[in-house]
Point group: C2
Chain length 145, copies 2
Amino acid sequence: MDAKEKFAGYLKDKDLRQSQPRDIVVDVFLRTERHVTTQELFQLVQKKNPRIGYATVSRTLKLLTEAGLCRTVDFADGAQRFEHEYGHEHHDHLICTRCGAFVEIYSRKLEIIQDELVRQHGYEQISHKLQIFGICPKCLKKHKS
Amino acid sequence: MDAKEKFAGYLKDKDLRQSQPRDIVVDVFLRTERHVTTQELFQLVQKKNPRIGYATVSRTLKLLTEAGLCRTVDFADGAQRFEHEYGHEHHDHLICTRCGAFVEIYSRKLEIIQDELVRQHGYEQISHKLQIFGICPKCLKKHKS
DNA sequence: ACAGATCATGATAATCATTATCATTACTAT
DNA sequence: ATAGTAATGATAATGATTATCATGATCTGT
Ligand SMILES: [Mn+2]
Ligand SMILES: [Mn+2]
Ligand SMILES: [Zn+2]
Ligand SMILES: [Zn+2]
């Protein structure tokens, strides 16, 4: 099942309608691999169809998140960002505080330790977000010269 | 060196002045162990001295952060929160998405793995934030009944 | 002690992201 | 077709954060 089918299934499940504006927003979102803000996605959508409003983009991003196609990430730059979730391995982010460059990181060990911590406290895990902030190699070079 | 001395040292170092409003904000912040928003701290400060404005609270929180007395945490509830940093062991948070209850978590192993990941990518680490979201034991009970 | 110079303050406004409202339009089912 | 319901997009409301600026406080060098 591809991402679009999954979204269609979600809409049907919730008795929501599949509409042209929604299709376009979903399409544009799935076509970019960037970690977009609502504002950024809105601008991309506008290129396809300038009639589509900001509210629809925002609402559709919420639907995408609920449908499990999308998750929010926080780069500490003031706005929520959205990235693909479905069909992508879980990962976290290592972000340069100077230029914003980031890399996606993953460690199986790290995930296991987290699960243990959650269990120890009697919680039931839903999700987690790890952001590591630092200076990227490029910015380190610049600074040293 | 206690927290207030450290802050005084920071002010001196940056050629900033020690003022009565700043002292009060710092004092109130240090006296609460809660993870406060600017708004919440402002309300606490108002009880001590209603003349102090929101802007001063906000600015002082920024200074406290730069001075290493305070760090921001994100509980995904729309506002920045501030907690003590100086004299406190580093920790992350496990947050209940239903009632907001949270516990502070720490794992030496987890920290080491993070350090490794950062090094592997040639970054220089500044800080990190891990938020785990889940359902707390209390909310789990309620839901099952 | 005095006179700039500089900094801090607090009221207010500006900015920005997110969310709510609501009249209009589009779709669905009978 | 018709009535009922959902979706849309323009706009406004909300809330957090940041910027502005006139005023007051503090410092520095004389
Ligand atoms: Mn990513
Ligand atoms: Mn804490
Ligand atoms: Zn960088
Ligand atoms: Zn709970």
